[in-house]
């Protein structure tokens, strides 16, 4: 009903034949590792009631492995389900997780933050030609027009370091970046224009906290922003608190964010939150050569330093 997709002038279909192979491989592997006791649960995707939709699924019975799927609607970053935030969900024992390349960066980040141990999870990596973006119609096939913005600039379509990598990558039509252009547009603005832009965006925020709740890195059991002694960020959905909340959120994720863009995807108010994360990622890369990758890193850019770090901004 709401069609808000960023319609591009040309919309080329994307070869989605690999998704069926991936689905097959996930089902087989899930059944095997559940049956032989390698893992106690598999976190994957299954089809939703509405045609063309999917949802996260936690499968513990090998008989149910046949319900797992992989499709362009498998947007969620399932790494969320391995974090402390969802500790009531995950059963004890080793857990398998279906992970796209972008999701695997989050897994690597969580390993670097001592939240999960590599040996305690089983990664079913999937090759991914991309998932659907905001506003894509459930029934329409994946095209260059309805592809998620993050997928247009993906560098991890075939993840490395998984226990199993399912599927082979089809050749993709040429994809032009959208978010990068949006970044460039914002960066070219004057500070006052940027302030106006963000003010407008954040004024829509209702503090449903979906951005926080789906973020694999927002696993704090007591969010700073829920605290009231002291209250660092006003909890009411007003422009003042909203601005503070989004600044604090971006700052807390700086150097940690794995770039899955889930925050932006789930925002019911369609605030382009990933631009903030992306800005911080750019800063981290430019200043400290840090990039979120597929390998866990012992220290992040903001938990380490070098003697000769840039200090041109300091008098």
């Amino acid at each position: 009903m709401n069609s808000t997709a960023q319609k591009l002038e040309t919309s080329t279909p994307i070869d989605t034949s690999c998704y069926a192979d991936v689905t097959d491989a996930i089902r087989k592997e899930a059944a095997r590792i559940l049956a032989d006791g390698t893992v106690t649960a598999v976190v994957g995707y299954k089809a939703g009631r509405r045609a063309g939709t999917t949802m996260p699924a936690i499968v513990t019975d090998p008989a149910e492995a046949g319900g797992l799927i992989f499709s362009p609607a498998c947007v969620n970053n399932l790494a969320l389900y391995l974090t402390k935030a969802k500790k009531d969900v995950v059963k004890k024992g080793r857990i398998a997780i279906v992970a796209k390349g972008c999701d695997m960066r989050a897994l690597a980040g969580l390993m670097g933050e001592s939240q999960i141990k590599r040996e305690e999870i089983f990664i079913i990596g999937v090759v991914c030609a991309g998932v659907k973006g905001s506003g894509a119609v459930n029934s329409e096939p994946l095209t260059t027009g309805n592809l998620a913005r993050k997928c247009r600039e993906c560098t991890v379509r075939t993840p490395e370091g998984a226990d199993l990598v399912a599927g082979t990558m089809p050749s993709l039509p040429e994809l032009t970046p959208v978010e990068a252009l949006e970044m460039a547009r914002l960066e070219a603005m004057t500070p006052a224009e940027r302030w106006a832009f963000w003010k407008e965006q954040f004024s829509r925020c209702v503090r449903c906290m979906a951005c926080r709740q789906v973020c694999p890195f927002c696993y704090c059991e007591q969010c700073l922003c829920d605290k009231n002694r002291p209250q660092a960020v006003e909890s009411t959905p007003r422009p003042a608190g909203n601005m503070a909340w989004h600044i604090v959120r971006a700052m807390h994720l700086a150097g940690r964010c794995a770039g899955c863009a889930e925050c932006e995807r789930v925002c019911p108010m369609e605030i382009p939150l990933n631009l903030l994360n992306r800005k911080m990622a750019l800063e981290m890369k430019e200043l400290y050569g840090f990039e979120a990758g597929l390998a866990p890193q012992e220290k992040g850019p903001l938990s380490s330093y070098k003697e000769d770090d840039d200090q041109s901004f300091i008098k």
């Binding site: 009531d88 789906v214 909890s235």
Partner: protein
């Protein structure tokens, strides 16, 4: 005698009302979506899509100040917000699922405590409803007893006509008054046929059966696992036309500040967190159970109504694909099994 209003006059109506000093709230473009927002002119009105947030905020805003305090020279003064400043409002373009909700909420806001903020806005607001000619796969109003042509809650109801314009009906006096105020904008209805309405592709559910099942199944295994994947955000509640939980916070400094009422959601982990640290709804499944129970049982128990109008917003925008229709449909089936002859659990 039935009336109609042309597209042009509808927009002129808005202009006129605004000029008269009324607050006109209706779907308006906000970025890529529409939201119910105050309109400044008729052309602001965008009717081709269901606004992202429901119309409840015309009565129950995201956040509102209820009192302010200030300390000067060692003395603190408290100033209540005067509800009489609420302007006369016309809510225009509310779909049946949005138009029906405020009426459902009247009960809870005027029960043991009269919420004058809500009630005063209700008193001063005229709702112009609009029949639906489009539905998507998340819509399920028919499942919960409403329909694309349902006038419940509307003071004036518009039905789009073939060839443009809207048929107008005034189910309430308020609606009639509005029409009477600007008779020149309304024409007599000709024989233009209404556009075909959009029935969502769902089956009608037996809400009483669902309630009956809920009555006896607080500890059903259904609840365990149903919302494992729930991320615990408030998107469903905040988009819902009928969810009405709120929190109250004091903000400001020791010298000056305000007490504010703002939306809250039962999906939040801290929603039922006690000062002791104990949380009776300690896991997401229990929180989700409460959502279903509240909508289909508790509210019915107390006020005889169902707290869901089938707008489908929570389905469309759930980050993890939780589908309330699928849940109640399953409960409906179980309810039917439990009660059906010979299929009971004996």
């Amino acid at each position: 005698m039935s009336k109609m209003i042309t597209e042009q006059n509808l927009r002129l109506l808005i202009d006129t009302l605004v000029k008269e000093g009324a607050r006109v709230v209706g779907p308006r473009q906000a970025g890529a979506m529409t939201l119910y927002e105050p309109l400044t002119k008729g052309d602001d009105l965008v009717l081709d899509q269901l606004p992202r947030r429901s119309a409840k905020e015309a009565f129950f805003p995201v956040c509102e100040t209820i009192l302010s305090f200030e300390r000067k020279e060692g003395k603190t003064t408290v100033q209540d917000v005067d509800v009489c400043t609420v302007p006369e409002t016309v809510l225009i373009g509310a779909r049946p699922c949005d138009a029906a909700a405020p009426g459902i909420l009247d009960a809870v806001f005027s029960w043991d405590y009269k919420d004058e903020f809500f009630l005063e806005r209700r008193r001063r607001t005229t709702i112009i409803g609009l029949a639906c000619t489009k539905a998507d796969d998340a819509c399920f109003c028919t499942a919960v007893g409403l329909s694309p042509a349902e006038m419940k809650g509307a003071d004036l109801f518009l039905t789009p006509l073939e060839g443009g314009g809207y048929a107008c009906e005034a189910p309430t006096e308020k609606g009639e008054r509005l029409m009477a105020r600007h008779p020149q904008l309304f024409d007599d209805a000709g024989n233009a046929k209404p556009l075909p309405l959009a029935e969502p592709a769902v089956e009608k559910l037996d809400l009483q059966k669902i309630k009956a099942w809920l009555d006896g199944n607080f500890e059903s295994p259904l609840w365990y696992g149903i919302a494992d994947r729930c991320a615990g955000c408030g998107a469903c509640a905040f988009l819902c036309p009928a969810c009405h939980c709120f929190d109250i916070n004091d903000e400001g400094t020791a010298d000056k500040g305000e007490r504010r009422k703002h939306w809250d959601a039962c999906g939040f982990g801290k929603f039922t967190n006690h000062a002791s640290g104990h949380n009776p709804r300690d896991i997401q499944n229990k929180r989700y159970r409460n959502r279903i129970m509240h909508k289909f049982k508790y509210y019915d128990d107390k006020f005889g109504q169902t707290l869901c109008t089938g707008c489908g917003r929570c389905i469309r925008h759930c980050p993890v694909g939780i589908d309330i229709y699928a849940v109640i449909e399953e409960i409906n089936k179980m309810g039917a099994r439990d009660q059906g002859p010979g299929t009971g659990k004996d």
